[in-house]
């Protein structure tokens, strides 16, 4: 097996003055969002073993916000205010972006996140994410169902959180209305143990398609409740990326195999292009064996890779200067990878959503089957993004 390719790819360990790069993930009781920073860390290790950035190694410092907003703020204070991090890379969290968006803007530091779930992550000036987040992924799934499964009325079961469930389910309703259909949302309170009522609400809404816009654990619970009611054949079942996780096909059980369609925001594993293969090599060579190899790990790898490429393109004298680095990141335009359907860019706007095209897969025994290759999502929400892309010339 040949070696992974990273950064300058010199094969020489970097030895200069380290460049500090931060990363924040959330790993505590409700869920583990550390896959992206793990993958980014592996990639940076690989970079450091391969000449670093202009000979300078990356000192990657990762903080855990533990799903606690105060710890999230403290993590940012530490990385942004107390240290001269030039940027934050690979962030994955449910709350960190909401708490810290203002801090980042104030400190003019760019965050190349990889695990975004909330609106603040896409609608603020200094954060840009490699993953899509619930909104595009939802719309992508809905679009597939509308076009291929004949969906006319979609019930979106979302979390009862304004900047997550309500935000992303509303986009589905808007999309359906733009296509002459209808939609509704059934909201689930994250604290409530019982998912059955939300499911029943969706069922009784008159929908023909149910979109399960939930983290994997809750989505499993909903599928289980639907199985209990034997509802499988009465609806189309679709879901955004969280259900694209290799432990899911096993966990949902045989009943659902062949019946649940999932949007994948990065290239599914079987696509296996050169970058996907390199990602695996980086993980095998530099990550812990138990670090997950999932879609967020791909996103973390991509963020780290795009960051490194940007840094390598900079004047070596400027790579330790936060302002210059931020400038360079904002200027990113048209970086490509076979893991992503579209080009990656950043730009100067106060919203960023470079990734809004993906794949559609179906849960089958032992894994996923691709049912639709890369496709652009088409919905009113993306209009201003497309306009921006036209203006920047990345389309």
């Amino acid at each position: 097996q040949d070696k992974p390719s990273c950064g300058a790819n010199t094969g020489q360990a970097a030895s200069g003055e380290p460049i500090i790069v931060g990363g924040i993930h959330g790993n505590a009781a409700p869920g583990d969002f550390s896959a992206a920073t793990d993958a980014a860390a592996a990639y940076f290790k690989c970079v450091n073993a391969n000449g670093g950035i202009h000979g300078r190694p990356v000192d990657y410092r990762v903080e855990n916000d533990q799903w606690n907003p105060e710890l999230a703020a403290q993590a940012a204070a530490k990385l942004v205010n107390d240290t001269d991090s030039v940027a934050l890379v690979g962030n994955g969290s449910f709350i960190e972006m909401a708490v810290n968006a203002a801090t980042y803007a104030k400190a003019d530091i760019m965050v190349m996140a990889a695990g975004c779930a909330i609106s603040e992550c896409f609608e603020t000036s200094n954060i840009v994410s490699t993953n899509q987040g619930p909104l595009p992924s939802n719309v992508g799934a809905a679009q597939y169902a509308q076009e291929e499964l004949g969906a006319k009325n979609i019930a979106c079961i979302g979390l009862n959180i304004p900047n997550n469930g309500i935000w992303s389910c509303q986009a589905v309703i808007d999309f359906m209305e733009s296509r002459g259909g209808t939609g509704s949302m059934a909201l689930l309170n994250p604290g409530a143990p019982d998912v059955n009522s939300a499911l029943l609400e969706a069922v009784s809404s008159g929908a023909d398609t149910i979109l399960i816009n939930q983290p994997a654990g809750l989505a499993l619970a909903i599928l289980k409740a639907a199985e209990e009611q034997d509802l499988r054949d009465q609806f189309n079942w679709i879901a955004p990326t969280p259900l694209y996780d290799l432990s899911v096909p096993d966990a949902v059980g045989e009943y659902w195999h062949g019946h649940v369609y999932v949007n994948a925001e990065l290239a599914p594993f079987q696509v296996n292009g050169p970058d996907a293969q390199n990602w695996i090599k980086v993980m095998d060579g530099f990550a812990n064996p138990e670090d997950p190899r999932d879609t967020f790990a791909q996103a973390g790898y991509l963020s780290a890779k795009f960051f490194t490429e940007t840094m390598l393109a900079m004047d070596p004298a400027d790579v330790g200067d936060r302002a210059k680095v931020s400038e360079a990141i904002r200027n990113i335009k048209g970086l490509k990878s076979d893991l992503m359907c579209g080009p990656y860019y950043v730009g100067n706007a106060d919203f960023h959503m470079p990734n809004h095209a993906g794949y559609m897969v179906k849960i089958v025994k032992g894994g996923y089957e691709i049912v639709r290759e890369c496709y652009q999502y088409d919905s009113p929400y993306f209009e201003k993004i497309i306009a921006l892309e036209k203006e920047m010339g990345v389309q």
Partner: protein
């Protein structure tokens, strides 16, 4: 005496009918049936959790916040054993055994050292233990989507237009069975009497010769078994997530309050009513967002209702 009890029951029935009527106004019967049956299903889990707490509270004076965590530890063990291909009945038993051991460990090693403190501090201390268990469980099993299944999930009967699996029936029947069984046990046997006397005043009970260690072991043991069973059922029916199972105790306390931490029958009725009302609230466009508030509001109202007319006088002695 009896007349006022009958009156209370009538009042309860009228209130329930009113709530269900208001929420379900104009909805088709089938939808009503669906939400009602679904509510009963969750409600019986609340009740089961609440019953476990009340049994221990009546027998030892400890309101145990860690029973959910013990159940979670058990359920995760079951999942792990199932992954390893262990014979399923053994894996299910392991859930009960692990919860039992975790509960007994607290009951035998830690609870006696706190016996002289007031009930609230004892209750709060169990939260510390819950954190230990939860921390260990989440450390051993990293966050990942998981589920467990019982063969009874595949069998079902129809009721009010809703398909009810045998597992749910088991929970429902078990909660009634436990209520009747424990009620008989506490009221009729000498061990039951000793439990009640320990809960009332542990020091004095020890002084008058009640066998403290043996009695407490039995009490914690029963509560451990109930915690394990509840954890298993919860993991199967709702979610296999340690945090969710752990903090399920808070709405279970609401059910326990409905029985004044004392009457198991009322805990059962309280748990079921909470489940039904919570489920029916989904039908109200204005209230459905705050559905999960139902257990807390109901419990607070019920407690105030119980205490109406009482007047505090001698602290701790009334």
């Amino acid at each position: 005496m009896d007349k006022s009890r009958l009156l209370n029951w009538l009042l309860y029935a009228a209130l329930m009918a009113l709530v269900i009527g208001l929420l379900g106004w104009g909805k088709p019967m089938k939808i009503l049936g669906l939400f009602f049956a679904s509510g009963l299903a969750v409600g019986s889990l609340y009740a089961l959790g609440g019953i476990g707490m009340v049994v221990l509270y009546r027998a030892s004076g400890v309101l145990n916040f860690s029973s959910g965590a013990a159940g979670a530890a058990g359920a995760m063990t079951t999942w792990q054993l199932a992954q390893w291909g262990v014979w399923p009945p053994l894996a299910w038993t392991a859930c009960v055994v692990v919860a039992l051991l975790a509960t007994l460990a607290y009951g035998m090693l830690i609870a006696p050292r706190l016996a002289w403190r007031e009930p609230v501090v004892k209750a709060v201390a169990t939260l510390g233990y819950a954190l230990i268990l939860l921390g260990l469980v989440s450390f051993i099993w990293i966050d990942d989507p998981r589920s467990i299944a019982l063969p009874t999930d595949k069998m079902a009967v129809n009721f009010l237009g809703m398909r009810i699996t045998i597992t749910r029936l088991i929970v429902f029947v078990a909660s009634i069975g436990v209520v009747v069984g424990i009620h008989q046990f506490l009221g009729r046997t000498r061990v039951g009497l000793h439990m009640r006397s320990l809960a009332n005043d542990r020091d004095l009970s020890a002084l008058i010769g009640v066998p403290v260690v043996a009695t407490e072991t039995i009490a914690w043991g029963i509560s451990g078994v109930l915690a394990g069973f509840t954890g298993l059922m919860f993991a199967d029916l709702i979610r296999l997530e340690p945090t969710v199972i752990t903090f399920m105790v808070i709405p279970s306390i609401a059910a326990a309050i409905c029985g004044r931490l004392e009457s198991l029958g009322l805990v059962l009725i309280g748990g079921l009513s909470i489940g039904v009302i919570e489920s029916m609230l989904t039908l109200s466009p204005t209230l459905k967002n705050v559905r999960p508030i139902a257990p807390f509001v109901i419990a607070a109202l019920v407690l105030l209702w119980y205490q109406r007319g009482t007047r505090l006088t001698f602290s701790g002695r009334d």
